[in-house]
């Protein structure tokens, strides 16, 4: 799976779709995509079903997005987090912190 971060704008909702192995070499790209999304829309969803690996820098990008959104009263959710992502979130005791949904539609609602 190729390392990729794609952004789609849909009205007041931004979908950031991440795939591949998220690590220090490119996690800043994901961080920027999330923060850019929050700067232009009221809600951001981060789709993570195709993420086969994530390190603490990737988790940090998600945390920063979540805190940023919460501070401004914006919506932020993780969508379809892969088992790898869920495992690392549990290790970081963050699995009950993020709003997590199974579909993009649920994130938009």
């Amino acid at each position: 799976m190729k390392n990729e971060c794609r952004t789609q704008n849909d009205g007041d909702f931004v979908l950031v779709t991440v795939s591949g192995e998220v690590d220090l070499s490119w996690s800043q790209q994901i961080r920027k995509a999330i923060l850019d999304g929050l700067a232009k829309a009221g809600a951001v969803g981060v789709e993570l079903s195709q993420v086969s690996y994530i390190d603490s820098s990737g988790i940090a990008a998600l945390v920063e997005g979540f805190q940023n959104a919460r501070g401004k009263g914006q919506k932020f959710a993780l969508i379809a987090a892969s088992p790898s992502v869920r495992g690392v979130l549990e290790l970081a005791r963050l699995d009950r912190v993020f709003p997590m949904v199974d579909t993009v539609e649920a994130a938009r609602a």
């Binding site: 690590d23 220090l24 070499s25 603490s56 940090a60 945390v63 805190q67 690392v88 290790l91 912190v97």
Partner: protein, 143 residues
């Protein structure tokens, strides 16, 4: 501790080299018979240790390298990660409180949670630091 060498690897202390470290380590751990979930945790812990070297040990993106070796003696794995950066203060390196929700600072927690023990110390009489991490594998038999 002596033991059978399963992996010896040197990578540049650059984030782009981390994938090669993970792949080589994953392959070496696969040969131990460790189950997938355990392998993933071990690879993550060692990866995080290498990330800490890249981010904190070599100042301002200075060129440097990271050496990793993995040995096994019966069911005991020993990971040895060496850098050639200025000495660290081991007392300053500790897991943080995970009840605080904030980005960053998770690497040492991942190492601490995964490994049975770990120790970071400057190398005596030479430049650099060594992080030694140990993990006992369960149920894989002796080799």
């Amino acid at each position: 501790m002596a033991g059978r060498a399963l992996l010896k690897l040197t990578i540049p202390a650059k984030a782009e080299a981390l994938k090669s470290l993970r792949d080589a380590l994953n392959e070496a751990l696969d040969r131990t018979g460790a189950e997938a979930g355990v392998r993933e945790r071990l690879v993550l812990a060692v990866h995080e240790a290498a990330c800490n070297v890249i981010r904190h040990a070599y100042p301002d993106g200075a060129d440097g390298s990271i050496r990793l070796s993995l040995t096994r003696q019966r069911g005991n794995l020993r990971f040895w990660l060496r850098d050639f950066a200025p000495p660290v203060d081991p007392k300053a390196i500790k897991p943080r409180d995970l009840s605080e929700c904030r980005p960053g600072g998770l690497g040492i927690n991942f190492i601490d949670d995964t490994m049975d023990s770990w120790r970071l110390r400057p190398v005596k009489h030479h430049r650099g630091n060594v992080l030694t991490m140990r993990k006992r594998l369960r149920g894989t038999g002796h080799q």
